[in-house]
């Protein structure tokens, strides 16, 4: 059944697939994870701040984002970001943002909801004595969080955060709906140009599978190494 296969089409397009497509995917994944974790931590802090209103707003945001399909959110932001940009810069017409910026904003806003739940669990896993001791030492709230609570929460949750990043890596393939040139988008463009859907999609599947497998194996190793024996 592989007789009619044209594996050369993969070899011919390797440069485009990896240097353009995979580079787009990996950059988007890394920046979204970074932004998502920072924004997610802020949301988690809002939820745990003890201010009812702040907590309510953060909770609503998380529940709202988590009840929508990512595809719909991608469409939302694709159309919304130009208007928000216009409002922020005071321009006279909706500003045009690149495909990459639009996707980045989408993934940061969307994944922050998921990262915030992880960070919330991490912060709650720190025993009450820690912030109490920091308080007794005369540290302010910001110092307590910065030097005592967050470093430990982050360390405890690192495997979960990385697993979520692998999910994010797979989710970035959904920018396909806006025909962006990520790895799958690149594979699909070549597939349609050369009429080689079978080869290109199988190859894309193998690449995603390998990367995710290796990454989750690495996370498992890391988890075994850094877990604190209590």
């Amino acid at each position: 059944m592989f007789a009619t296969f044209d594996f050369d089409v993969i070899r011919r397009s390797l440069g485009y697939l990896f240097l353009d497509g995979m580079a787009f995917t990996l950059t988007l994944t890394a920046l979204s994870a970074l932004g998502g974790i920072i924004f997610g931590t802020l949301i988690a802090l809002m939820r745990l701040s003890g201010f009812k209103v702040l907590g309510r707003i953060a909770g609503l945001y998380v529940d709202f984002m988590r009840s929508l399909p990512l595809v719909l959110v991608i469409f939302w932001f694709y159309f919304l970001v130009p208007y928000v940009g216009q409002w922020l810069t005071g321009a006279s017409r909706p500003i045009s943002v690149g495909a990459f910026t639009s996707a980045l904003v989408t993934f940061i806003m969307f994944e922050a909801a998921y990262f915030s739940e992880i960070m919330r669990a991490g912060i709650q896993s720190i025993s009450k004595g820690q912030p109490a001791a920091a308080n007794a030492l005369g540290m302010t709230y910001a110092q307590t969080m910065r030097y005592v609570v967050l470093p430990q929460a982050f360390r405890n949750m690192l495997p979960v955060l990385l697993t979520q990043t692998i999910v994010l890596f797979q989710d970035t393939s959904l920018v396909y709906v806006l025909s962006m040139p990520d790895f799958l988008g690149a594979a699909s463009k070549v597939a349609q140009r050369d009429g080689r859907l079978v080869e290109m999609y199988l190859f894309a599947a193998v690449v995603y599978f390998t990367i995710s497998c290796v990454a989750s194996f690495g996370v498992r190793r890391l988890q075994a190494r850094i877990s604190i024996v209590r």
Binding site: M1, F64, S67, L68, P69, L70, V71, L72, F75, W76, F79, L80, Y83, Q86, W87, R93, Q170, D171, S173, L174, Y176, V177, L184, L197, V198, Y201, L202, A204, A205, Y208, F209, S212, C213, S216
Partner: protein, 243 residues
Amino acid sequence: MNYNWNWSIFFEPAPGGTGTYFHMLLTGLWLTIQTGIFAWIIALIFGSIVGVLRTLPSKTAYWIGFAWVEFFRNMPLLVQLFLWFFVLPELLPRSWGLWLKQMPNAPFYTAAIGIGLFMSARVAVQLAAGIASLPRGQKQAATALGLTTLQGYRYVLLPIAFRIIMPPLTSEFLNTIKNTAVAITIGLIELTGQARSMQEFSFQVFEAFTAATVMYLLINIIVVTGMRFLERSLAIPGYITGK
């Protein structure tokens, strides 16, 4: 924001000639629900089998379960749908492939089966964890009573394990419904797809997406409420979820 809001757009006739834009979105909503439920049934069936396989003492069974979960978890759903939709018909014998391609509603069946299998890996992991969380005595007592392995699972382990994993299963069900939106890429015009075509026809982007958003939120509220009711009525008194 210089955007021309026009909320009455929902009552204007859509170009399809089948009714208003609102009706168009409702058709999409109905298709989303159908796909979601069909996919969920598949996810439950395969997820239960694979989840049980992962907890059996047999090494072979464990590895089959392990391979199943890793296979479906390590590829983006979108890529999996492409494999089922574009690649599978080409790899099958010619006549089968032709039959698959000419099947009416192909996007619907592909989406339901593809999303179902994708979610089955997650259900399997939850169920295996649920079974593993039961005290060892449960299985031993079942064996001591003379139940076979199959009977032990059927009458002792599974009824409790499924009750324990009700809350995570609820969110997996919601994920299944949300994931149906990915099927827009293989031509299934479900809720997100209808919102997108409404936006293309009418240029009222934000009205269309707001309506779809509200509908997804409603689905969530209904499912969460229903599942909470189910959880309460199935709770075993004195056991974790019971009072």
